[in-house]
């Protein structure tokens, strides 16, 4: 069974901390994505990556950075956590090319910044 695994289900961090969210996929997918999901706002794209060491900004990249050193791993970094970054964070992956088969999502990390 294909999988996208996010390292933590629940995380509580203090304002100003540097936070790392890890995501690993076992499907050999080229594309990986980080979203945050908030009530009433839906899924908003933070960053995505089409290949190792490549990254592109999504719709809301401010306050975040990413790292993709290996094909299977895509990390989201909150440089200095703030309370408005309290959210559900979802990682997803997809195969390359023009296929429209969509993403495989992880189970999410619910981050609370206090």
């Amino acid at each position: 069974d294909v999988k996208v695994t996010q390292s933590s289900r629940y995380l509580v961090k203090r304002t100003g901390e540097k936070v790392f969210l890890e995501c690993v996929q076992d499907m050999d997918h080229e594309n990986m994505f980080w979203y945050r999901q908030d009530p009433g706002l839906g899924l908003r794209l933070i960053y995505f990556s089409y290949d190792v060491k490549m990254k592109e900004k999504g719709d809301i990249p401010e306050g975040y950075s990413v790292s993709r050193e290996k094909k299977e791993r895509f990390s989201l970094i909150l440089e200095s956590a703030s309370t408005n970054q309290t959210s559900m964070y979802l990682c997803a992956s997809s195969s390359g090319g023009t296929g429209g088969y969509g993403y495989t999502f992880g189970s999410g990390t619910r981050l609370t910044v206090v």
């Binding site: 839906g42 794209l45 979802l90 997803a92 429209g100 189970s107």
Partner: protein
């Protein structure tokens, strides 16, 4: 204005009802259309996808795309309590750098036993 609009609900129906979930969109370049189901405290999972216009059926689920009206629908027949979830529509352009999906905000559905 958002590229994809979806009524957030919540929608509550009795078991056995036919459910209709809908999205409208503004970008005529979208060619691939998907529906995701998200159970509480879980990530979304792909339910159905269609390419361009037309209908696609899978068991109790039917996805419908009307590109002329920029309108997509998901129908659930004989709805079950296990169908209670948030349903997200998603769509994307056919190729190029825009390999990311654009999502609706989701409709929360509750099927009452």
């Amino acid at each position: 204005q958002k590229e994809v609009e979806q009524d957030p609900g919540p929608l509550s129906v009795p078991e056995g009802a036919i459910v209709s979930l809908n999205c409208t969109y503004s970008n005529s370049a979208f060619q691939y259309f998907m529906w995701y189901r998200q159970y509480s405290r879980k990530g979304p999972e792909l339910l159905m996808y269609t390419y361009s216009s037309g209908n696609k059926e899978d068991g109790r689920f039917t996805a419908q795309v009307d590109k002329s009206s920029k309108y997509i629908s998901l129908f659930i027949r004989d709805s079950q309590p296990s169908d209670s979830a948030t349903y997200l529509c998603a769509m994307r352009r056919p190729s190029g750098s825009a390999r990311q999906l654009t999502f609706g905000s989701g409709t929360q559905l509750t099927v009452l036993p």
